[in-house]
């Protein structure tokens, strides 16, 4: 049997394996059991193995070995040196970081991790500032922008009310996470200012609605997966037994 023939059998075999694995995982509705755990451990093994190979191909092969090989084959020593100068430091840093795998040598890899965390923190700051904070504040401030208002008077009222609602909702949601309290008498329970307390209560309502929509979305996605599995099971039963 050659590879092509084998590949023709791959789909039915894969379907049966998928069928069995689906049932093993769905058995969790009864409770945690041996079959469920076996299926989960197989899944973790396959996912980790695939990730390891992807990293090797995409990083070590595509960004380290292949460029050096190509430059070497081109026969340009200066280019090779430039490539080495480009690649070697990061290779050394990567090898240095792998000392974290050993409990005895773990402390040695901390400087590399510090470099990674520093660059990552700066990237996150830049993204949060220019990607979310400024645009979203501008959008909140421009919610009552009359240029974006509809021309129809009837819709204008609805637009205005909705805009006020959005503005109030945004501000009160933010104020819910304001936990500063006033200076209080010894022994008394610290409380926020009554104005902030009332704003936080309103914000709590908006958060409840947002989380309700979020929960409904998660449930909907899970229901689609359930429908998809049901469809798959039926297709396998249909193809094998019917």
């Amino acid at each position: 049997m050659n590879l092509e023939q084998l590949s023709q059998w791959a789909d039915p075999i894969g379907a049966v394996i998928g069928f069995v694995l689906t049932l093993m995982v769905l058995s969790y509705v009864i409770g945690d059991n041996f079959l469920f755990r076996i299926a989960i451990h197989i899944f973790i093994g396959v996912a980790s193995g695939y990730a390891a190979v992807i990293i090797f191909y995409n990083i070590f092969w595509n960004q380290v070995i292949l460029p050096l090989l190509l430059v070497f084959l081109q026969g340009a020593p200066s280019g090779l040196l430039v490539s080495l100068a480009h690649i070697l430091p990061v290779l050394l840093l990567g090898g240095w970081m792998l000392t974290k795998a050993s409990p005895r040598l773990a402390r040695l890899g901390t400087p590399v991790l510090a470099f990674l965390v520093g660059v990552g923190a700066a990237t996150v700051i830049g993204g949060a500032l220019f990607g979310t904070l400024i645009p979203q504040v501008a959008a909140t401030a421009g919610v009552l922008d009359l240029d974006a208002a509809p021309d129809d008077t009837g819709k204008l009222v609805g637009w205005f009310i909705s805009s006020i609602f959005i503005l109030v909702g945004t501000v009160t949601t933010l104020s819910y996470f304001q936990f500063g309290v006033r200076p209080h008498i010894e022994g008394a329970i610290p409380t926020r200012h009554p104005f902030f307390e009332s704003m936080a209560t309103i914000g709590q309502g908006f958060i409840a609605i947002t989380l309700g929509v979020f929960f409904a979305g998660v449930l909907a996605a899970a229901l689609v997966a359930l429908v998809d599995r049901a469809r798959f099971l039926w297709q396998v039963i249909q193809s094998i037994f019917l």
């Binding site: 990237t123 979310t132 959008a139 421009g142 909907a220 359930l226 998809d228 049901a230």
Partner: protein
């Protein structure tokens, strides 16, 4: 060498030492160190009391002793004692002295044994009439002067009976005792004549030169120690009355046992209280060199403690060994309820899949405004223009995401756009390859205008690098092909060089990272960013689609949006086949949540309203939920 035991601490010392080498107490009796006069006093036996004349002499002696010159100066007790009744004077304290069993007060014995005062030497006797006129002298003092003249016989003063006072028996008995011999007065102090001479002549430097006159006049006449008179038969020892006992001087009281045993206490070796026991030492304890007390290292454990120790050891040992958990029943009420929900959801869905029902209408475009915008951006892509497709959804969301992803890829393939697929997810390359097989013209003939660049690590870091230089971040495909030399991609240097960027993700955080890192550069260059998301990410992505300058130009959320796009583009997909079952599952879920919530509230209210007949003692009810 002979050894002496210390009278204080009881330790042995050598004979030569005068003080104990341990406690510094004197080893030899105090008697040896005492002056002779004090020693004589201690050793002298009690003598008969003196007669009346001697009473005057006694009174006179007392007067001399205390330097009293006139009757007015005499204290009352002495005035009274100056003319005591004869019976009191003459009665010797016979019962006390003769009966060895009875305790005779010392002071009384001493009183009875007082010798006759020795006649003062002529030099000491004040000349009569020289100091005080005779008519001014009290009788007793005058008699005292006559008594010193041996030629003048002593006269007994007449007894003065007490008026109305009952004479005590002992005093009466004292009167009845005949005294043939004159009672000799025992001087309070006795001196050696030689010493007296020295002291009297000499001496301002002598210590005794500071003594008062009365003391210096006392001669060193030795009184004859008279033997005690035999007790006449018939005399009964008398019991002392209480008042007399109370009057007893402290020194004459027989020493009683101390209230506490002071034999173990330290003797004071320095300071004014030297030699005493049981007092605070002047020396601080810190300076005393004492051998430290040695404590035994052996732990004394009682039987009770030992049994408790065994119990504790067993308890600790049992902590290390895992206890087998009690067997849980497979079908608990929660499991049954969960199984019921699973069957209630799964069976109708399976039924709809078996039926292949297509009766539920699709959602309208007005209800999902983002789909129209998405479609409009999609159809604006020109042929051969590079479109970046980010396949960033998980393998488990393929059922929901592949409906929209397939519709997008199919539509772009129809438009002959150049598809560049990449992923920030490790499973992404495989899923991207699945998508590409969907748009294959035929088996073995993949879509030519597509390339799979593989995996970009680092999350937000990788996206930051992708924005700046896609060539450096993804230099080759997974097949080791350099895609950037291809005609469609030669013009690509930054992310903004793509005509369209479409991100397909189920995770809201991944969507946010893409928007944060790429939207500023894309917006600046007028490149549209479209999102295909799962229903769970939709609420957090919607804010990026609104506003005057939305960061996301089109949003396709969940199965409803994907099915609508599928329908809009006319792509045949699995979405329609799932729509009916999806709609039914939504309805069943909403109803189960409603029924479950209402029944839960009603049951809880009924439970709380029931009387607590089975309430356990000391068990409190659950606290009321706090209102936030």
């Amino acid at each position: 060498m002979a050894e002496i035991l210390c009278p204080e601490c009881g330790k042995s010392n050598t004979d030569e030492l005068e003080t104990c080498r341990f406690c510094q107490a004197p080893l030899k009796p105090i008697d040896d160190a005492l002056p002779d006069w004090l020693g004589d006093l201690q050793h002298s036996e009690p003598e008969q009391p003196t007669e009346t004349s001697s009473t005057g002499e006694v009174g006179g002696l007392e007067a001399d002793l205390f330097g009293v010159t006139s009757d007015s100066d005499l204290p009352d007790w002495l005035r009274q004692s100056a003319t005591p009744p004869k019976s009191e004077i003459h009665a010797p304290p016979a019962p006390a002295s003769t009966d060895p069993t009875e305790e005779t007060p010392d002071w009384l014995a001493a009183l009875s044994s007082l010798p006759e005062p020795k006649a003062l030497p002529p030099s000491k006797v004040p000349a009569q009439g020289s100091a005080v006129p005779a008519e001014k002298l009290p009788d007793w003092l005058a008699n005292l002067g006559e008594a010193q003249n041996p030629d003048i016989p002593l006269e007994e003063p007449p007894p003065v009976p007490f008026d109305g006072v009952e004479t005590p028996d002992w005093l009466t008995s004292l009167d009845n005792v005949p005294t043939d011999k004159p009672v000799e007065v025992v001087p309070a102090f006795t001196f050696n004549e030689e010493e007296d001479a020295e002291l009297l002549v000499g001496g301002e430097d002598q210590p005794l030169s500071t003594l008062p006159d009365w003391a210096s006049q006392i001669t060193s006449e030795q009184t004859e120690v008279l033997p005690p008179e035999p007790i006449e038969p018939g005399l009964v020892p008398e019991e002392l009355p209480g008042w007399l006992i109370a009057m007893r001087p402290v020194e004459s009281v027989a020493p009683t046992a101390p209230l506490e045993d002071l034999s173990g206490t330290d003797v004071v070796s320095a300071g004014p209280l030297i030699g005493l026991r049981g007092v605070l030492s002047a020396e601080p304890d810190a300076l005393k060199s004492r051998k430290p007390v040695s404590y035994s290292l052996k732990l004394h454990v009682t039987d009770d403690q030992r049994s408790r120790l065994v119990l504790m050891e067993e308890l600790l040992a049992s902590e290390l060994t895992p206890k087998p958990l009690p067997a849980q029943p497979v079908l608990t009420p929660q499991n049954i309820f969960r199984l019921g929900i699973a069957l209630a959801l799964f069976l109708p869905v399976l039924f709809m899949m078996i039926r292949q029902s297509l009766s539920v209408p699709l959602p309208s475009m007005e209800t999902l405004p983002g789909v129209q915008d998405f479609y409009n951006e999609l159809v604006d892509v020109a042929p051969e223009t590079p479109v970046l497709l980010a396949i960033d959804y998980e393998a488990g969301f393929t059922g929901e995401m592949e409906v929209g992803a397939r519709a997008v890829v199919e539509q772009l393939a129809r438009q002959q756009a150049y598809l560049v697929l990449m992923s920030t997810n490790t499973t992404g390359p495989a899923l991207a390859e699945r998508l590409l097989t969907e748009i294959a013209i035929a088996p073995g003939k993949p879509y030519p205008n597509a390339v799979n660049l593989g995996y970009l690590p680092g999350g937000a870091l990788g996206l930051a690098e992708l924005v700046l230089s896609p060539r450096q971040s993804l230099p080759y495909t997974l097949n080791a092909i350099d895609p950037w030399v291809l005609p469609s991609l030669t013009s690509i240097n930054t992310l903004s060089d793509f005509s369209l960027v479409i991100v397909m993700t189920n995770d809201a955080e991944t969507a946010r990272a893409w928007i944060e890192q790429t939207s500023p550069a894309l917006q600046a260059n007028g490149v549209s960013l479209l999102l295909v998301t799962s229903s769970q990410a939709e609420p957090l992505v919607i804010p990026y689609t609104s506003g005057a300058l939305p960061q996301v130009q089109g949003l396709l959320a969940g199965l409803p949006g994907s099915v609508l796009l599928e329908h809009r583009t006319g792509v045949a997909s699995n979405g329609s086949g799932m729509w009916d079952a999806f709609s039914l599952s939504l309805t069943i879920s909403a109803l189960m949540i409603l029924i479950g919530s209402v029944s839960g509230v009603v049951i809880t209210a009924l439970k709380e309203g029931k009387p607590e007949t089975k309430k356990q003692p000391g068990r409190k009810s659950e606290p009321k939920q706090e209102q936030s």
